[in-house]
């Protein structure tokens, strides 16, 4: 068994193997040469460690860890929608009604998670969050309607990816897993509606859709690109999604829209950190 051939096989299935390896990319790209310099018995160990870095979880997440993480994100959303729904900058009564609906759901999620965490639930207030993202939004979050919608979209699309990335950590607990899934799909419904609101208000590109096309951030500022990076995937679990089936062609755009992608805990933390005061 030639390890380099195995690596080539993996690369065919997962073109992002080198990106996953990140800092060890250079080592991996020159693995053939690398292998020659190592004793034969050391290669499997090195190879295993590299794959572990690429595909293993960086940390073990307990159910409580996941619940706490979800609790933070739901508090962020709930506080945002409380303040947003209280403004008078909506373009229509329907828009305000939608924000009130979403606020109510996010508050309900907070209350559910608070109950699930019990004494482990941290305390969050409006002061826990910085909805100006450390000045990046110019103080316009609750003053400018398109900005408010943009922040809402960023939070919702992030929420969807966050729950999706955490679900596997909950596989040992059916009750919590199912609750998380039941929240996850609601966040996706919110995301779809906010994207629709942006489309209808013409604050977004005319082709803005309720689903994510490629890694397009839909006219949002570049600082939120991390929310959309990776969404352009057109291969899922080694299966190429594009092609022509029964005479209907599935484009790269459609293939990417058909699957929402996960984000890791670390990626989500990087995205939400500007919105946290501490």
């Amino acid at each position: 068994m030639n390890i380099y051939n195995l690596l080539t096989q993996i690369e065919k299935a997962d073109p992002e193997i080198y990106e996953r390896l990140d800092s060890r990319r250079a080592v991996f790209k020159h693995f053939a040469g690398f292998g020659k310099k190592l004793a034969a018995t050391a290669i499997p160990l090195a190879f295993g460690a590299m794959l572990n870095k690429a595909y293993g979880q960086t940390t073990t997440r307990s159910v409580t860890d996941v619940l706490k993480f979800a609790y933070l994100l739901e508090n962020l959303e709930a506080e945002f929608y409380k303040q947003a729904a209280a403004t008078d900058i909506f373009a229509s009564a329907a828009g305000k009604g939608a924000f009130e609906t979403i606020r109510n759901h996010e508050v309900a999620h907070v209350n559910f998670l608070k109950g699930a965490l019990g004494a482990d639930a941290p305390t969050y207030t409006a002061d826990s969050f910085d909805f100006d993202a450390k000045g990046a939004l110019g103080g316009m979050t609750f003053k400018d309607y398109p900005t408010m919608l943009a922040v809402a979209q960023a939070f919702e699309d992030t929420g969807v990816r966050a729950y999706k990335g955490q679900a596997a950590f909950l596989i040992s607990n059916n009750d919590v897993l199912q609750a998380a899934l039941q929240i996850h799909s609601v966040e996706a419904r919110h995301a779809a509606h906010i994207r629709r609101m942006r489309r209808d208000f013409a604050a977004a590109p005319a082709d803005q859709k309720p689903w994510i096309t490629g890694k397009d951030r839909g006219g949002l500022p570049a600082l939120v690109q991390a929310i959309y990076d990776g969404e352009e995937a057109t291969t899922q679990a080694g299966v190429k999604i594009t092609g022509t089936f029964g005479g209907i062609s599935i484009s790269d755009a459609a293939a990417s829209e058909a699957f929402d992608e996960t984000l890791s805990t670390e990626q989500i933390q990087a995205i939400v950190t500007p919105f946290l005061k501490n």
Binding site: M1, Q9, N174, S185, A188, R189, E257, T262
Partner: protein, 249 residues
Amino acid sequence: MTKLSKPNASGNGLTESVNKPINRKSFFKFAGAGAALTTLLISGCNDDDDGKFNGVVDTPPTTGTGAVSLGSGDVGILNYAYALEQLEAAFYTQVVATKFSGMTALETSIFTDIRDHEIAHREFFKAAITAAAPTAIIPALTPDFSSINFGDRNAVLTAAKTFEDLGVTAYNGAGKLLTNPDFLTIAGKIVSVEARHAAEIADLISNGTFANTANNANGFDDAKMPSEVLAAAKSFIKETIDFSKLPTS
């Protein structure tokens, strides 16, 4: 193949090192990587997982007179999802092929997108299940949309809402029945897109109703077990779906 599936003949620990991280991340991701790796990974599943996967491979589906068995274990759940995606793909294919009177350009765009997404889901499951368990995959099902008037906007939107909400509740309920976290992640990647569809369809019926399904004490979408979902879907499928071997908890 036997040789390739046993790269560890020298006893140097390679099989162990390679299998564990891949299993944790994704079995399916690598199932199409090539014969050598596929064999390697299937052997890995047998060794490292709970054995259900192997058990399913050994249990051929019942494809007798109009009855289709989904099978058991994780592959049974994947077949269940495949059946629902077949239904949705067929529905939207017809919606776009026989547009109702007065369908707007925006509606045409939305229905075409959703059709393409559902075909992508259907073909994904077809390819992925075939790669992992070729003897266990269910056949193409025969949809029965005779109860739906495709010429009527309201009828089409009502049916679409039924299918999308049903799909969301199906995935939400089936997640806990999976034992392989990688399958769970894939299901998660699909269900949120179904929820986006459901929201858009609901808004097309009445703007602002995108998440009325979650107007309950916890702000949750529903989750339903396969028995409930298939009872709701059975009038749209000509074959009888046998879900008796699916896991129930």
